[in-house]
C-alpha cells in the first residue's frame, strides 16, 4: 500500500461515500452516538476501535438501516438515507451475533441473499461455491448452523455477507472467534477481496493488531464520540490524547510541567530529578501541565547509566514479562511511577541478565515521547 499512496481523505476534490453529518443517536435518555461527523471514502478499509458499549455497533446499524439517527443525517453516495429501508441499501452487514438462519443449511444461508436477486440457479450456486471455498467451508455446506463450531459459524456469517459483493460491507467483529493463523489468512483474503471488488469496508474490531494490519484508517471511539481518525501509523506514532495513546498499544504516561528550552521543552516530572527533554509539535505555555506518552519499545534499558543521553532515569526492576521474541521490563522510577521498557531478545542468553530487584537505567531520545496536552 506504501508504493501508491491511498489517501482520499487528504484530497479535497474527492467526495466521500459515507457522510455522517452531526449524527446523534439516543436510546431514551442515553446518548449512544454523540453528534458525530465523519466522512468515509470509497475503497476505504475503515476500522472502528473502542471499548465495549462505545457505540460501534450502533454506528453500523445506522448505516445498515436498522436504527434511524435521532438527529443529523447519514448520506451514502450523496443520498440521504433517512427513508431508505435496509433491503434497498447496497449495504450488507455481518452481525456481531452472526444471525445465521437456524433452519437453513450453510449452503442456503450463503445463497439467501443471492436468491433475492434475479440470478440464474447456476450463477447462484457458482457464487456460493466460490464463497464456500474462500471461507474453507466446502465440507460443511450441508450442515445446519448448530452442527458446526463457533469459528465455522463466524465464517458462514462472513461468507453470507460477502456473497452479494455489496458496495459497502459492514463487519462487526468478523474474525474474533478464529484462531490466529486463520484470522491472518482471512485478513489477507479481505484485503484481497477489497482490491478486486473495490468494496468499501467498515470493520469493528477489538484486536488492534488487526486494525493496524487491514485498515486504511482507524477511528478510536469513546462514549459515542470519535476521539481520533488517522492512518494506523499516525495513530500509533502521533496519538492526539492520552486516551488514544493508551487504547492503541502499550504506552508509558509520565505527567509533568513543560517549560520551553533551547531544543524543545523541558518537562519537570519529579521533585529532585533532572527534567526530561521532549520535542513537541504544538506550542506550549511555560508551566503547562502535559503528559508524555512513550512507547515501551522506544525505552532502552541498561545496567549502567548511559553516556550523553538526554533522558535517563533510574529505577528498579519489579517484573519481567518474557514474550518469546520480546521481553518487557516493568521498572519503578521516582514517585512510584511504573515505566515499561521492551527489548528484543536477539541473543539466546544475554551476557548479563537483568533480573528482579536490579537497579537499572532507562533512557530514550528527545523525539521518542509524544507530548499530549491535558
Amino acid at each position: 500500500m506504501a508504493q501508491n499512496v491511498f489517501a482520499p481523505w487528504d484530497d479535497p476534490t474527492e467526495t466521500p461515500l459515507i457522510q455522517f453529518k452531526g449524527v446523534t443517536k439516543r436510546f431514551g435518555d442515553f446518548v449512544a452516538i454523540d453528534n458525530l461527523t465523519q466522512d468515509i471514502y470509497a475503497r476505504e478499509f475503515f476500522a472502528l476501535l473502542g471499548p465495549s458499549g462505545c457505540g460501534k455497533t450502533t454506528m453500523m446499524r445506522m448505516l445498515a438501516g436498522f436504527e434511524a439517527p435521532s438527529e443529523g443525517q447519514i448520506l451514502i453516495a450523496g443520498t440521504d438515507m433517512a427513508h431508505v429501508p435496509p433491503n434497498l441499501r447496497a449495504v450488507n452487514m455481518m452481525f456481531q451475533s452472526y444471525a445465521l438462519f437456524p433452519h437453513l443449511s450453510v449452503w442456503d444461508n450463503i445463497a439467501f441473499g443471492l436468491k433475492r436477486e434475479r440470478h440464474t440457479k447456476d450463477a447462484v450456486s457458482a457464487r456460493v461455491e466460490e464463497m464456500l471455498k474462500l471461507t474453507r467451508l466446502e465440507k460443511f455446506a450441508k450442515r445446519k448452523p448448530h452442527q458446526i463450531s463457533g469459528g465455522q459459524r463466524q465464517r458462514v456469517a462472513l461468507a453470507r455477507s460477502l456473497a452479494k459483493a455489496p458496495k459497502l460491507l459492514l463487519l462487526d467483529e468478523p474474525l474474533g472467534a478464529l484462531d490466529k493463523k486463520l484470522r491472518q489468512d482471512t485478513q489477507f483474503e479481505l484485503m484481497d477481496i477489497q482490491e478486486k471488488t473495490g468494496t468499501t469496508f467498515v470493520i469493528v474490531t477489538h484486536d488492534q493488531e488487526e486494525a493496524m494490519t487491514v485498515a486504511s484508517r482507524v477511528a478510536v471511539m469513546d462514549e459515542g464520540r470519535i476521539m481520533q481518525v488517522s492512518t494506523p501509523a499516525q495513530i500509533y506514532e502521533a496519538p492526539n490524547s492520552v486516551y488514544v495513546a493508551d487504547f492503541i498499544g502499550d504506552v508509558n504516561i509520565i505527567e509533568g510541567t513543560a517549560s520551553p528550552s533551547v531544543n524543545g521543552y523541558e518537562v519537570r516530572w519529579a521533585e529532585g530529578h533532572a527534567p526530561l527533554v521532549a520535542k513537541a509539535s504544538q506550542v506550549l505555555r511555560e508551566g503547562q501541565r502535559i503528559s508524555l506518552a512513550i512507547r515501551p519499545e522506544k525505552v532502552s534499558i541498561s545496567a549502567e547509566k548511559p553516556e550523553n543521553s538526554v533522558n535517563a532515569i533510574e529505577g528498579k526492576i519489579i517484573d519481567i514479562a518474557y514474550l518469546g521474541n520480546l521481553s518487557t521490563y516493568h521498572v519503578e522510577v521516582a514517585g512510584g511511577i511504573m515505566v515499561k521498557a521492551q527489548t528484543a531478545n536477539t541473543r539466546r542468553l544475554s551476557r548479563r541478565e537483568l533480573t528482579w530487584e536490579d537497579k537499572v537505567w532507562l533512557n530514550w531520545t528527545d523525539t521518542a515521547a509524544v507530548v499530549l496536552e491535558q
Partner: protein, 271 residues
C-alpha cells in the same frame, strides 16, 4: 428414580380415575352388543356400523369437520398476525388496549360470546348456518392461537429478521422465509388447538348454528335428551379419539419442535 410413597400413588390413582373413568365407561359401552346402555351383552362393533348409516349424524359430522378446518385455519392466520403485531410493533398507540382486547375472549364466559355473536349476526341480517359458526369459532379460537404464537415470538431473535432484510428481503419475505419457518411448530400447535376447540364447542355453536347446519356436539346433545343410545357412545368414542390425537400431537409438536428449534436458534448465534 425414587419409589413413590403410598400417598402419592393413591392421589395419582384417584385423580386419574376421577378424570378418565367416565370416558372409559363410555368407550367400553360403545362396544356393547346390547341396546340397553347399562347391560353388558358381549363385544360388538355393530353400533359403529349403524352409525355409518345414520345420515343425520354423518351430515353433522361433516359440518363439524368443515367448520373446524376452516375456522382453525382462519384463526391461525389472524391469531398469528395479531401475535406478530403485539410482539414486534413495539410500543404503538393503544398497544395495551389491543392486547387486552385480543386476550379478553379467553376469560369471557362462552355464553356471553355466543350471545353477542348471535346479536351481531341478527343485527347485520346474516342468516345463521355453517358460515356463522365458522365466523364465531374463528373469533374465539383466534386468541388461543395468538397466545401460543406470541409466547414463541417473544424468544425469537430479532436479528434474524434484520439479517433477512439486510440480504434484500422485503418485510413480508422476511416473515415468510425466516420467521414463519422458525415459528412453524408454534403455529401448527396453535392450529391444532383451534381445531380441537372448534370440534367440541357446544355453547357458541348452538347460539350461532341455524336449521341448515348443525354440528356434532349439538346433535349429540339433543339426541341424548331423548335417551342415551349406544350409537351416541360410538360417536363420542370417535370424537374422543380425534380430540386426543389432536391434543397429544399439538403438545408433542410444540414441545419437541419448538424446544429443538429454540436450541438450534441459540446455538446459531455467537457464544
Amino acid at each position: 428414580m425414587k419409589r413413590m410413597s403410598w400417598f402419592n400413588t393413591v392421589s395419582i390413582t384417584l385423580g386419574f380415575v376421577f378424570l378418565y373413568l367416565p370416558m372409559v365407561i363410555l368407550v367400553v359401552y360403545s362396544f356393547n352388543a346390547s341396546k340397553l346402555v347399562t347391560v353388558w351383552a358381549g363385544f360388538s362393533t355393530k353400533w359403529y356400523v349403524e352409525l355409518m348409516g345414520n345420515e343425520a349424524f354423518l351430515d353433522a359430522a361433516w359440518v363439524t369437520v368443515k367448520v373446524a378446518v376452516l375456522s382453525s385455519t382462519l384463526a391461525t392466520v389472524l391469531g398469528t398476525m395479531a401475535a406478530y403485531v403485539l410482539v414486534r410493533a413495539g410500543r404503538f398507540h393503544g398497544r395495551t388496549l389491543f392486547s387486552g382486547m385480543i386476550y379478553a375472549p379467553l376469560v369471557m364466559p362462552e355464553v356471553i360470546t355466543g350471545l353477542s355473536l348471535l346479536l351481531l349476526f341478527i343485527g347485520i341480517g346474516l342468516d345463521r348456518g355453517i358460515f356463522t359458526i365458522i365466523l364465531a369459532h374463528t373469533t374465539f379460537a383466534m386468541c388461543y392461537v395468538s397466545v401460543v404464537v406470541s409466547s414463541r415470538l417473544v424468544s425469537f431473535d430479532r436479528a434474524l429478521e434484520e439479517a433477512a432484510l439486510d440480504l434484500g428481503c422485503t418485510q413480508f419475505q422476511a416473515f415468510r422465509l425466516v420467521t414463519l419457518p422458525i415459528i412453524a411448530p408454534a403455529v401448527i400447535s396453535g392450529w391444532l388447538l383451534a381445531f380441537t376447540l372448534s370440534l367440541d364447542d357446544l355453547v357458541i355453536a348452538s347460539f350461532t348454528a341455524g336449521p341448515s347446519a348443525t354440528t356434532l356436539p349439538i346433535k349429540i346433545f339433543s339426541a341424548v335428551r331423548l335417551g342415551v343410545s349406544p350409537e351416541i357412545n360410538a360417536l363420542s368414542t370417535i370424537m374422543i379419539g380425534i380430540v386426543t390425537v389432536g391434543v397429544i400431537s399439538a403438545s408433542l409438536i410444540s414441545k419437541r419442535a419448538s424446544l429443538r428449534q429454540q436450541a438450534e436458534e441459540q446455538a446459531a448465534v455467537r457464544t
